[in-house]
Amino acid sequence: MAQASSHASAKPAEKPKSVQLFVTCMIEAIKPEVGMAVVTVLERLGVQIEFATDQTCCGQPAFNAGAVPDARAMARHTLDVLSRSASPIVTPSGSCADMLVHHYPAILAADAHYGPLAEQIAARTYEFSQFLVDVLGVTQIGDVALSASKTATASQKVTYHPSCHLLRGLKVTEAPKKLLNETAGVEMLEMNGATECCGFGGLFAVKMSDISGAMLNRKLDNIEATGASTVVGCDVSCLLHMGGGLHRRGAAIETKHLAEILAQK
């Protein structure tokens, strides 16, 4: 059941020549290789990357903690940064995209300047896989500029974890799977309880660590049962959480962002 992802934005009339990358604080600090993979993939697809160096954090940690005034301050900063260019915004995180697309307009609704700005930005913000499939129409990864991946011979067994805000927030269900399925050299393995949360939930993993840890263990059992050597996701934060759990277990399973799989040669 291929379902169109719900998004405030309409598909642009023409394929955009350039995008603004909102790289996320997690990738900036901890997993820059994911950001570089996003750049590689988009450039191979002929899209120019704009990167505003004064971007910071979308403010979701504050928002989820209930500190709405703090979240608003970070939202206003992010909107100032992203509204300098008219290009679509691409972010390699379902959760940060959901924050920009759904929560910015809500928390800034009463703000005469930033309220309408939040709506405008929301309408042109896309999660990475959503942008590739829904906007660029990339389905045949191999036939476009990613042909390099076709030469991969060794079959890489992967399983896909749909992160919650991507799946139930942005309703992006098919795009990442479509891309993975059409990447040469990649074998997709189904995971039991795939749509169950990994237990990350931001500060939840710290504040309610034991509950989060129990959820994580169930997820990791399901991951290990697939026999995959790689868990692929579209949110670095969830991948860090699962990766941290796998490392603690001593499991020889790596975590990769979808962009890293698509970018590999």
Partner: protein, 472 residues
Amino acid sequence: MSNVTFYDRVEDALNNEQLKVALTRTTSKLGGLRLNALASLPDADGVRDRARLIRAHTISKLADYLEQFAANVEKMGGHVHFADDAADANRIVLELAKQYDIKTVVKGKSMVSEEMHLNHEFEEMGVTVWESDLGERIVQEAGEMPSHIIAPAIHYTREQVGDLLHDKLKIPLSHDPAVIVGHVREKLRQEFLVADMGITGVNFGVAETGTIALVENEGNGRLTSTAPRVHVALMGIERIVPTLDDLSVMLQVLARSATGQKLSVYTNLLTGPRRKSQTTGEADGPDALHVVIVDNGRSKVLGTELAEILYCIRCGACLNACPVYQQIGGHAYGSVYPGPVGAVLTPGLRGIGPWAELPHASSLCGACKEVCPVRIDIPRMLLKLREEGHEKGLAPAWVKMGLPMYRFVATKPALFKFAIKASGFGARMLAKMQGNGGWLNKLPPPLSGWTEHRDFPPFAAKSFSEQFKNRK
């Protein structure tokens, strides 16, 4: 539960292996049944949308519909009582018990009666109360509260239930659900015949007819509401539908979402007390019907951003779908209503003060909203309650101090970059000392929670900004 904290209860729950078995068995079974049952409904999404509209409309005109419902109950010979809070509701029910000289009460399932702690009140008064819903009877015999709104004894395995009822009800020992049910049924039959008063909940009160809809699977609701000479029905003020047509829409999604049935085994439509049938000339039902309509905090959220929680039709689907509930069960919440709906209802109706943790007992994964038959946006309200808790200073000190600091840094790009560099430096130093290949396996408080269950990966030596700038 005076000194026992939410975290204590969570710890107990997570260490309880039997609970894990029981919860995994039942929540996964109910989740699967729900999906199949909804698939059997043509245009299930359309029906859910309609059900939501009915709930939204009803709640927006609640006072009018309550008035209409009460007038029609009275017209059919019933009596209506309005209770402001649990104490008020108890006073009304106990006075009725005195008035009718009640010695024994048989009860069907009623979550409102749990809000009232009614059984305890009756015991104080010297009235014997028998729960007739099997799950409720199990928790009553165990001296506990329900741990699920439709499956009160979900926290027990069938083995534990067999042992408990053998011990308490002196029925022969068995671990076979069908055998256990058979024995309990014999016992219950006597109680239905002896009891002077039957107390039930109400799934829906139909405004246009004054009808009470009571949905159940064991026949205990029918016997409780018809065999004793007095029937007392307890309902929350929000449990109204305008018309019988509206009721039919709600019934299409209620059992499907709750137990994965197309319709529950018994759907009782009770209109007024005993009177002669116009067609057969026979009379059946109780001599007297009293409907007690309980507010107990509900009207407080009308017109607020939490009003949507009153759309809830108590199916329990959000509990079954919630990965947190699946791990800790209902008792850990410490509230009458557990799970995602309880995490909104309890602080929303009772006040955030003692319940500030509940809205945080969620990863905001959205599974509750996805399964809700009337599409209640529970995550939105959990966030709203977190906001209220934060405003009232109920967050832990490190969060209260940390977030403004984080905001200060994250709105100043140069400082933000510096902070990342500094954190990376600190993390690398710490990781070096821990000798875990760059990974951190022990973080200092307040972040120590993370490393209780997972390692933290190495910070990048060069940030994305640096790598992007230097790539050509």
